[in-house]
Amino acid sequence: MADTTPRTAERLPLPRARGVPGWLGLRGPLGRLANPLAGKELLARMRGPRTFVVATLLLLPLAAVAGGLYAMIATASSSDVSSTTPVGKLFFAAVTAVELGLICLLAPALTADLISGERERQTLDLLLVTPLSRRQIVVGKLVAALGSLLLLIILALPIQALSVLIGGIGLEELLVGLLLLGLTATTYGCVGLFWSARLRTTRGAMLFSYVTTLLGVGGLPLVLVLFVIASGAFGVRLDEIVWPLEWLMNGSRASLSRFGGPNAVAQNATLYQAEAVLGQLLVASNPLLAGITSAAGLVQGRPVVAMEQIDTLDVPYVAPWLLFSILHVLASVVLIWLTARCLRRART
């Protein structure tokens, strides 16, 4: 039988590099997050014109929308603008929605070339032969891309904060808005990164990223629109299907008894509870719907987590922004894991 012991093992006094200390020499979890790749990527992004161009692309339409709205409010209100409390909410909602749309457009553009670009530049192998783990490579790339996206959100903050000046928006709503924007950027950034690792070309990765983003952001609202059309055309009762959305918007004013009386509600309690949970999950999966329902919940002063009563039925309620956060953090973690796995598969 052949000797399988390596003759080289433990015999050569070869130099051993220390573990990768991470960006700025940080160790531990923070060091693993902020690795040299993140530093290099941020330097590269800031050095080129891309960040300036992207910031301009985001801020110009946002400023135009905000300016237009502000002018409308100022013209419509004969007295002090700051007293128009509901208009402030409308302003905030409109600006945040526009910003959300722009972030969804920018996130794939900023991330879909992260891995495929390395492959096309023929630098991926050079990274893979360093002691950086696949996960560190993915996280390093993502941190830099998200840094750019978060910078854009921060740059747009003064425009959003105009709503506080107009009135009707509190700090809580502003923070929830930022959270939704930040997590949307993170999740759809991870989508771009995943396709970038999964597909060989940046063009393909860009295409798949935009299709995924379009489905993720516009899919559910599109289905709702189709239901509305179907309810008119085929006599389907829309309110029987989308009552959880109505409940999330109206809170305690929602009612189930119109679907067959109190007895029917009691008989189908489990079904209605399941529909409520499923409805909340679906709404929380979509940034637009989660934003609208979160705003409604905050206005109504609903608690973050509670057991609410609809007619005689007890239904668990979780604030849409919290459920949205949990779902999107989970999705991001899964996408990062899948992306690292794609890099491992490249070895075979």
């Binding site: 399988t4 390596p6 080289t8 050569l12 590099a17 990768v20 050095r47 192998d125 070895r347």
Partner: protein
């Protein structure tokens, strides 16, 4: 020799129904410059990629600095410097930043990185390009920077895949000097190439790879002797090429004698004009032990002198070589160059691959 810096045993790799590497076995001692010679598609790059942990082998095992490429990939990457046959650039980085970035990726502490970067730029003679964007460097400079990148963590083993491809002769020579220096520093260097002249003047060891297998390997002279049945020697004389050939033919320990007409262009008559720089003669696959280029006008060669080259195979070791030289000089032959003909690598390679081809045809 206390151990091997790199050892591979029976590595094999298949892509679908195509066998890329069939049986790759190699032992590289520290300080050796090991040339992997083989035609395009022989499996050199695939073998190097397996050793660099970029490709999972289907079978076999290899150890780099004692770390297994299957079980301890992180250990391999710490010990190994890899330079692929292409140069990927980050267009937005400068040469100094490029090295600093890879040093950080390899875990070189931040306080040591400026010194490491400076030393490496100096080693590859790019100190003056520290603040130049990588994309703006010439191909030769980029290759040297790539070599510096592979050295940022002071690896004990270097894998260089076609390092001189696309370089002009001067850049090749500069790269060769750097690799030679690395060998002197005790690093084990494995160079894959299909250009024999690129390796002939550089390597201490060679492995001939064909059809995914290492056909033969070992120190250059040993492999040459093994396949030639002796040492390949080249002698250059003035005018008396035929007498030299006859003398050699009369010896029982010399065979395969060939008198070659010297194709060196004759210099123009000397009129006292300033001499242009001497044309490079190294890099043509020849390593001299006595004097380098043949004499020219102005170097002592008369207008009527005709240089001639005789190649032959000598049975015996260095002692036999020395004795032969002494006898030829004593016989009054006007020898101006005498040395082992490493250019015989080409011959060795052709013999081996031709033999394998014949075996395949017979089989």
């Amino acid at each position: 020799m206390t151990g091997l810096a790199l050892e591979a045993r029976g590595l094999h790799k298949r892509f679908g129904s195509t066998v890329a590497v069939l049986d790759f076995s190699l032992g590289v001692p520290p300080g050796a410059i090991y040339g992997l010679i083989g035609p395009n598609g022989a499996g050199k790059t695939t073998s190097l990629r397996m050793l660099a942990t970029l490709l999972e082998p289907d079978g076999g095992e290899a150890w780099v600095g004692g770390a297994s490429i299957r079980a301890d990939q992180a250990g391999v990457r710490r010990t190994l410097g890899y330079m692929p046959d292409f140069f990927g650039v980050y267009p937005e980085l400068k040469a100094g930043e490029y090295l600093d970035f890879y040093a950080a990726c390899h875990g070189v502490p931040a306080e040591r990185r400026p010194a490491v970067t400076s030393d490496l730029l100096h080693l590859v003679d790019l100190s003056h390009k520290r603040d130049s964007y990588v994309q703006g460097l010439s191909r030769g400079m980029q290759q040297r920077l790539g070599l510096a990148r592979a050295l940022v963590h002071d690896p004990a083993v270097l894998l260089l895949d076609e390092p001189a491809s696309g370089l002009d002769p001067r850049a090749r020579m500069e790269l060769r000097e750097v690799v030679r220096e690395l060998g002197r520093m005790g690093k084990a260097v494995v160079i894959a190439s299909h250009i024999l002249a690129e390796l002939a003047d550089l390597c201490t060891h060679i492995a001939i790879v064909d059809d995914g297998r290492v056909v033969t390997d070992g120190p250059v002279e040993e492999v040459t002797r093994r396949l030639h049945g002796g040492r390949s020697v080249r002698v250059q004389v003035l005018d008396e090429g035929e007498r030299l050939r006859d003398m050699l033919l009369a010896r029982p320990d010399v065979h395969a004698v060939q008198l070659e007409p010297d194709l060196t262009p004759q210099p123009p008559p000397y009129h006292g004009a300033p001499q242009s720089p001497r044309p490079l003669r190294r890099g043509d696959g020849e390593r001299d032990t006595l004097g380098s280029p043949p004499p020219r006008a102005g170097d002592g060669l008369g207008e009527g002198d005709t240089p001639a080259t005789v190649r032959f195979v000598l049975d015996g070791d260095e002692r036999a070589l020395r004795t032969l030289l002494a006898e030829l000089v004593a016989a009054g032959l006007p020898i101006f160059a005498f040395g082992q003909d490493v250019g015989g690598l080409e011959d060795v390679f052709l013999r081996v691959t031709r033999r394998l081809g014949d075996e395949r045809d017979d089989g």
